[in-house]
């Protein structure tokens, strides 16, 4: 797949529509993510932020509009899903490590099966990405032997091993207590510092403020307010004001 010119955004959504039955969840959503940018999608439950994220990796098919990700026309029915998913890494709220495989096998599975990497190279790669998330010693452990935070870091490592051009994080800390959340956020911060392009759905307002280059606040299936992280401190719409207010109470 051809590299888009550097001026092109890595991810762009234009006027995206999506309904689940009679329920309109995305009502003309547009935003773009530049190379190396960290974009935080925030909003209430049901605002459509997770759906928007899942549309980027085509876990949901859109009803209308245009989505371009690393040059792939994701909205088209003939999009090459396997090529798309080699360029996009996704990390889920529930980690979704494969329970029957060790952490090393979880990480090496896709590079070997999809990219045809030799077993020895894949093992080196597993060690490298586990070092990135601070879990080298868990190479031969099974997922159930790890804490939630460790499992999530291993899931991030598994995703990194495919060397994606953009990473999607879908509420990756929502199942974790504050201490474990902190260790996962630290890993994500390091990725951001290393220049990884990222789109994250998050409820951690403090974290979004600290790490995001841009905030997209979604409300009732629309992008309601967007701007640099400072909009969280000085929101212009009453909805974001209220949302940030409740978020601050929570943290």
């Amino acid at each position: 797949m051809q590299q888009p010119p550097s001026s092109e955004p890595i991810v762009s959504l234009r006027d995206v529509q999506k309904s689940f039955g009679p329920l309109l969840v995305l009502d003309g959503v547009s935003f773009a993510v530049e190379r190396g940018e960290v974009l935080a999608l925030i909003g209430r439950s049901g605002s459509g932020k997770s759906t928007a994220l899942r549309c980027i990796d085509r876990f949901e098919k859109v009803d209308g509009g245009e989505i371009v990700v690393c040059g792939h026309r994701v909205d088209r029915p003939d999009v090459d899903l396997r090529a798309l998913r080699q360029d996009v890494g996704i990390v889920f709220q529930s980690y979704n490590l494969f329970p029957h495989l060790t952490i090393e096998q979880n990480i090496t599975l896709a590079p070997c099966a999809v990219k045809g990497l030799a077993a020895s190279q894949a093992k080196d790669l597993a060690r490298k990405v586990l070092a990135q998330v601070g879990l080298e010693e868990k190479l031969h452990a099974y997922p159930e032997q790890l804490s939630g935070g460790q499992q999530q870091r291993a899931a991030i490592a598994r995703s990194l091993a495919m060397q994606p051009k953009v990473m999607l994080f879908d509420e990756v800390t929502s199942a974790l207590d504050p201490e474990l959340t902190a260790e996962v956020l630290k890993v994500i911060e390091q990725l951001a510092a290393d220049g990884m392009t990222m789109v994250m759905v998050t409820h951690e307002m403090g974290f979004a403020k600290g790490i995001a280059d841009r905030i997209v606040f979604m409300h009732r299936g629309k992008v309601h307010e967007t701007g640099p992280a400072s909009i969280l401190t000085t929101p212009t719409t009453p909805e974001l004001t209220q949302f940030v207010g409740t978020g601050n109470l929570k943290s």
Partner: protein, 222 residues
């Protein structure tokens, strides 16, 4: 009539018991292979394949095995195919077992949590790779206890093959009884023999279930 139960009668019953085991093995291997295909067809992305396999399962599950056996034996003869009773019984049981195992296994495959499928998709694995490396290894663990449990049913159901003249344990008992006319003694021996074949399987199934129960936390992410 023909004297008393002797070693020759018991040898004959023993031979019948071996054929019961043989027919069970044929039914399980044949039914296992076809059943695996049915399980995959039931979750195929192609709607026509899903419907065809669902119709097959419904038809077989809604028909008594006895009728399937008669259809296999006399039906094939009626269209000019002369088949042995072993072939007819083996083929009928294969079709029967396939429908049930296919349905059991479909349920097991689908009980692997959906996020596991999505995680595998997100890593760009092909459909076959997702199935072989992520879903099936987990589904097999779920499927083992009900599969072994179903094997007990098969061993007992092979007794119906006696109606198409296949000399397995049940039929050999009938033959011995025809010469001795000691039905209670003979059918008691047959009952005990079936039990001796089935009970170890039941025990094995229970043991597996207990072991799987302990490992259940392995199946779904915490």
């Amino acid at each position: 009539m023909g004297g008393h139960l002797n070693i020759n009668h018991l040898m004959f019953l023993g031979q019948g018991a071996l054929w019961t085991i043989g027919l069970s093995v044929i039914a399980l291997i044949g039914g296992g292979i076809v059943g695996f295909a049915i399980a995959l067809a039931r979750i195929s992305p192609l709607k026509s394949v899903r419907i065809a396999s669902a119709v097959y399962v419904q038809l077989i599950q809604g028909t008594p095995l006895l009728v399937i056996l008669f259809l296999g034996y006399f039906g094939l003869a009626a269209i000019g195919l002369k088949v042995s009773s072993l072939t007819a019984a083996g083929a009928s049981l294969t079709l029967y077992v396939a429908a049930y195992l296919g349905e059991i296994w479909r349920g097991c495959i689908q009980s692997v949590p959906k996020p596991q499928w999505e995680a595998a998709e997100g890593l760009a694995l092909s459909r076959i790779q997702r199935m072989m490396k992520v879903i099936l290894p987990q589904a097999i663990r779920i499927a083992t206890p009900p599969t072994v449990g179903f094997m007990v049913q098969i061993v007992k159901n092979t007794s119906l093959a006696s109606v198409v003249g296949f000399v397995e344990l049940m039929r050999s008992g009938q033959i011995v009884n025809n010469s001795l006319f000691e039905p209670f003694a003979i059918y008691a021996i047959i009952a005990v023999t079936y039990f001796a074949m089935c009970y170890p399987l039941s025990l094995f199934s229970q043991k597996l279930e207990r072991r799987m129960g302990r490992g259940r936390s392995n199946l779904a992410p915490a």
